[in-house]
Subunit: 207 residues, 2 copies
């Protein structure tokens, strides 16, 4: 598959959400202008992004909502279920475990883990927080592809090493620390306090 | 102030966390090597990043932990309190309201708002979820600089328009939709499901 820039992947993901809203409203077609208006971009950009994957539209008729949505799901790897484990059942971990936005996109949380006995055994919707000691055995059994890391900074890297060794191939890190993974593993970081600090810097540097 | 690239701001923010850990342990000095090891970069990069803001270190003695931490706080706008409001008291909004990582960095949540009567009046730690109708009056009274948007996609832009009009100068958007702001307002987006989709794309495109 051709490599797509991250900014393009982001737009494709937004287009798909718009298409799914149109599907829910039983619309048959959508124009590049409609996709652009909802996706915060231009018609020309929409046509360019989509032409990259073949021809979906008919001039003057727009794109088939169902066909384009199916193709985008396939491109983004969303035409399947991904199994996700969450490491850390504190405030962020618990919110992630309950976040419907994941489930709706085909990401199923199959396990939540913590090292703190005050948290293990606790129910988060239909999941029970499990002891971190069970991690390797559970990964072998459940085969999750993705791990979300929601533990304190100093606990992040050792846990990442453990899940990677156990076979997890993608890491989404919410801990406020950089983590390192081998080349065959993909990873991204979301650091909410850091996002605020970047805003803070932007506010003071503009004066 | 000179413009600093976002990647540099991210590293400065990580260096500051490391410095604060060293401060807590009563260390007087830190070497570029120690900052690099904890910040996931190289000594040369650390020296380059810091030289940009003047001379902090003495050759062979390392950097003064206290002086460097103070200077980084000043650069990042963290030597002051920022007032934050949270729009949306669903799972994400509630988790953000309770997130200690914000408070620890000088971000004080001064209000949480929702339009749903099932949520207004509810307590989140020491805050009571307020009716979204109170937004303009509260912004005028409390003067928050930053708004976190944690509402459904379709509700995001109208709320952003309202808080920007009321005087908020920075937006951190957690809604799964692009939002637009005037040029004098800074904004960033964190979309957790989108982060997972980028991982999903990376997983399928590597095969």
């Amino acid at each position: 598959m051709k490599h797509i820039a991250e900014s393009t992947v982001r737009r494709l993901s937004l287009y798909l959400r718009i298409l799914e809203e149109f599907e829910a409203q039983a619309h048959q077609t959508i124009s590049s202008g409609e996709l652009a208006a909802h996706g915060g971009t231009t018609s020309a950009q929409v046509r360019k992004d989509l032409s990259f994957f073949g021809s979906f539209g008919k001039r003057g008729l727009g794109y088939s909502v169902t066909a384009l949505a199916a193709r985008l799901r396939e491109i983004l790897g969303l035409n399947r279920q991904w199994r996700v484990i969450i490491l850390g059942a504190g405030k962020i971990g618990a919110a992630l475990a309950r976040y419907e936005g994941f489930r709706n996109r085909g990401f199923t949380v199959v396990g939540v883990y913590d090292a703190d006995p005050a948290r293990t055994g606790r129910a988060l919707d239909n999941l029970i927080v499990r002891d971190q000691k069970e991690l390797e055995a559970d990964v072998a059994k459940l085969g999750p592809e993705i791990a979300l890391i929601a533990v304190p900074a100093e606990a992040a890297q050792p846990l990442v090493d453990r899940v990677v060794k156990a076979g997890v191939r993608a890491i989404l890190n919410f801990a406020p620390a950089p983590v390192h993974v081998p080349r065959h593993v993909v990873h991204r970081s979301v650091d909410m306090a850091l996002e605020l600090e970047i805003l803070s810097y932007a506010l003071v540097s503009r004066r």
